[in-house]
Amino acid sequence: MNEYLTLAELAEAAGVPARTIRFYIARGLVDGPLKAGRGAAYTLEHLARLERVKRLQAEGRMLSEIGRIVGGVEAEYAAEPTAWWQHGVADDVVVWTRADMSPWRTRQVRAAIDELARFLHKERKE
């Protein structure tokens, strides 16, 4: 593979349409080409970044979140702390939930955790 790629070559190599790559660049998920104008070029680093974005998407991350993770334009938020609750549902099982969930969702999640705890307790007894 050449050291420098056109956008079309990058799109084909990554399996990501060119329009999507431009969209990612605009959102700061991927850096722009090495130089603007005629002969704009992309490198294997761009390809690696695209592969990483795809991987993170497959893990269920949203583009906004990926932007933070890969340190694009939203990098200033990256260090923002988040609070989590730890629920010990059995001696050997812990469930983590975000502390800033809305009350209605907290109720839903708690119901599911209670159900899990009851199930694990019952399974152990049987």
């Binding site: 999507t20 969209f23 893990e59 949203m62 906004s64």
Partner: protein, 765 residues
């Protein structure tokens, strides 16, 4: 040349700074016929950037719609689109972008969502795309409803993800494996700072028009006899947070025929045949399951109205009818394991069940109607009350077809899922209506319920020149629409059904009508085939798609009618002096307004800026039904959908329609309740007259089946005097003639005793 509204300059509310909008204006014009609409949608894009801009605008297609062509204009240029196979169109667009040329691509995705992408708009340049769209309308015997989406509703999908990305702004993503590279817009809670929208339409009609109105927008109507009516937005501009809904009501009910030459000695035609030409409802017992969407987006007035509507629908059942009730979100709950007869006890059971139904969770529509199918064992009808806000509709449609049940749909909402619900009903031989939240959901439900289950004609067949095939059954209130082509002049359409036949001669017409009708036929055929194209097939590489029966059919239809589909897209590249190759344009996605009746929090709830919400487990399979003592965490987690569940007291108070209340009181034998036969008869007479006074008779109006049941009860009423019998006769006569004397009939129908004296007095007045 471009026509940017110079006066339009939105500012950011917190700062007062002007907002730079990539798209400034969306304006709808064109001709609306009873058989469909031929529209031009003008999109005005403007770059406020100091570098080239690429703008992506996402919109949903209306019902039975297809894109035909676009024209792109700007300072010193005008270009027309070409219809090319999608791969070629994308390639041409990308080459245009790489060459630095202004390029535009209109590409259709699943669920009828279109991405209109315009790239390389130069700094401070204004570019206008005039997009021609063919679209269908919702037909009724006495008129039609035209609906055009000015925004895109968020939609539930098991694998969707959503996040709040800014104050009052949400973002939603769908899995690329099923939706390809489709780009969704951001959803803005407040649409006031977005692009302006408006419309100016001609409405053509063959029958004299009683009224043209809109439950969605303030309109100006200019109407002069049988000339096309001009309907325009009354204010200068509006915001993109709801569909345009136009209602046209005729003074009479009759067949309408449109025809005209299309070249090579052929003529295209469209025929609208009202249900009244086929017959009237039979009184055969029916088997019906009502399926209520209780998902979070139904919260507030829609679900409260739907509950009342279902009670009134059930009152139209007799003891010989069988019914079931299912509520679904991402879980399904049935009132009973099987169908129940329409006894008083069972209706009370249904009322108690409805009282427990709150809005919550996601919209697993297929699970709702599959439960109904199980209860019906293949025989009967399903009525679904839903906002239809779901993605991946092709998969749901496949499940509906496989279930072999007849689905009728009542859509509720201000932003269109009309295309999907119309398909869901049509593909299963049912009927659909879509109402806005500004209208009474309960009345529409009662009206639809009166017509389903008892077709006025079955086994319908049309002459071979009709395509697509007509529906197998016809239902009261809903006409059938036929498209076709003939080489005969003047030619005719022949219809036969079980016990009847009808011949309708075609008019000569003009070639403009002929061309329009042919395009409407094409857009209808493409929509039908699009609905049978699952995403895994539609997103496959070209070589595989060429082996797909649906893909090949769509390609052939696109080529034959010159209309876009997922197989063919529209592209234009404008080469101009000064084009600079390989300059990367800045990509912007045009945000849209949240539909006005959908709470921002119902999709993006609980989050603050920068928060992320996984809406449903990734790649989660449908939760298996709980069996025995099996662990149900899967089902519990499926319920963790980011949609707010409001306490009942927060739901909007729905003012009860007195007629809905009255209808819900009917006993299984069709009469009003009461402590004696005389009281029951007196109250039933008053109830008939209350319905007739509001325009509901034995054959017309939403409460026609309630009137029929009351009349049936009165015909066999005993324990009354001769004088009282005379009043009963008057009421039965009024139910046929549609004329009721003045009187406080509602109060008399609700009176605890037999108010015969007051009834007789009012009847004599």
């Amino acid at each position: 040349m471009s026509t940017t509204a110079a006066s339009f300059a939105p500012v950011a509310a917190p700062t007062g700074e002007p907002i730079r909008l990539a798209m400034q204006r969306l304006w709808l014009s064109g001709r609306v016929l009873p058989a469909g609409a031929r529209l031009t949608v003008q999109h005005v894009f403007r770059s406020g950037e100091d570098k080239p801009l690429e703008v992506v605008y996402s919109f949903p297609l209306p019902r039975d719609a297809a894109l035909r062509a676009f024209r792109i204009t700007g300072e010193g240029f005008e270009a027309h689109s070409e219809l090319r196979q999608t791969e070629e169109a994308v390639k041409a667009y990308e080459q245009g972008i790489a060459d630095g040329s202004l390029s535009a691509l209109a590409r259709q995705y699943g669920d009828g969502v279109v991405n209109l992408t315009v790239g390389n708009i130069r700094p401070n340049e204004t570019v206008t795309v005039h997009l021609e769209v063919l679209a269908g309308v919702e037909l009724r015997d006495d008129g039609f409803r035209f609906r055009f989406p000015f925004t895109l509703a968020p939609a539930y999908h098991r694998q969707m993800k959503a996040a709040v990305v800014a104050e009052g702004e949400g973002e939603m993503e769908l899995p690329p494996s099923q939706f390809g590279d489709m780009i969704l817009p951001r959803f803005r809670e407040d649409a006031a700072s977005l692009h302006e929208v408006g419309f100016d339409l001609s409405v053509l009609h063959q029958l004299a028009v009683e009224e043209i109105g809109s439950p969605s927008h303030s309109i100006r109507v200019r109407q002069d006899g049988m000339a096309p009516a001009r309907v325009a937005l009354a204010p200068e501009k509006d915001v993109p947070n709801r569909d345009l809904v136009l209602d046209v009501r005729y003074k009479e009910t009759a067949a309408q025929m449109f025809a005209g030459a299309t070249g090579e000695g052929k003529r295209a035609f469209a025929a609208i045949v009202p249900s009244t030409l086929f017959g009237v409802n039979t009184e055969a017992p029916r088997r019906t399951v009502i399926v209520l969407d209780r998902s979070g987006s139904m919260q507030g007035a829609p679900i409260a109205q739907a509950r009342k509507a279902i009670e009134a629908c059930l009152a139209a059942l007799s003891e010989s009818d069988w019914f079931g009730l299912v509520a679904f979100d991402d879980q399904v709950e049935s009132m009973s394991a099987g169908l129940l007869s329409g006894t008083r006890e069972n209706r009370q059971k249904a009322r108690a069940f409805l009282g427990r139904v709150d809005a919550r969770g996601g919209t697993e529509l297929a699970r709702g109607f599959l439960e109904a199918a199980r209860m019906l064992h293949g025989g009967g009808d399903v009525l679904i009350l839903t906002d239809g806000q779901v993605a991946g509709t092709e998969q749901i449609l496949a499940q509906a077809r496989a279930a072999s049940i007849r689905l009728s749909c009542l859509g509720i909402g201000s932003a269109s899922q009309d295309r999907f619900l119309a398909l869901l009903a049509r593909e299963t031989a049912g009927v659909s209506r879509f109402v806005t939240t500004r209208e009474r959901v309960d009345l529409a439900a009662v009206d639809l319920f009166a017509s389903i289950g008892r077709p006025v004609a079955s086994g319908l067949k049309a002459s071979s020149n009709v395509q697509p095939e007509p529906p197998s059954a016809v239902f009261a209130g809903t006409p059938i629409l036929l498209f076709g082509e003939t080489e005969e002049h003047p030619g005719a359409v022949e219809l036969t059904w079980d016990g009847g036949r009808l011949g309708l001669p075609l008019p000569s017409g003009d070639s403009e009508t002929g061309q329009t009708v042919r395009l409407l036929q094409g857009s209808r055929l493409i929509t039908d085939w699009e609905s049978r194209y699952p995403s895994e097939e539609a997103l496959a590489p070209l070589e595989k798609r060429q082996q797909s029966r649906v893909g090949a059919r769509l390609l052939a239809l696109s080529q034959a009618y010159g209309l876009a589909s997922r197989e063919m897209s529209l592209v234009a590249v404008v080469k101009r002096a000064g084009d600079r190759a390989d300059e990367l344009p800045e990509t912007r996605v045009v945000p849209v307004g949240m539909p006005q009746d959908v709470r921002f929090g119902s999709y993006f709830g609980g989050g603050t800026t920068g928060s992320f919400t996984m809406m449903a487990p990734m790649a989660a399979p449908a939760a298996a039904p709980a069996a025995g003592r099996g662990f149900r965490l899967g089902a519990a987690l499926q319920g963790m959908i980011t949609r707010v569940r409001l306490p009942r007291e927060v739901e909007a108070e729905v003012s009860a329609d007195p007629l809905v209340e009255l209808a819900s009181e009917l006993e299984p034998d069709g009469g009003m309740p009461g402590r004696s036969a005389s009281v029951r008869a007196a109250r039933s007479v008053a109830a008939v007259l209350a319905f007739v006074a509001e325009g509901h008779t034995l054959t017309a109006g939403a409460f026609r089946s309630h009137v029929a049941r009351l009349v049936g009860f009165l015909k066999s009423a005993g324990g009354v005097s001769d004088r009282e019998k005379a009043s009963i006769e008057r009421a039965i006569e009024a139910a046929s003639s549609g004329s009721a004397p003045r009187g406080d009939w509602l109060a008399l129908a609700r009176a605890p005793g037999a108010e015969w004296a007051k009834i007789e007095k009012a009847l004599k007045a």
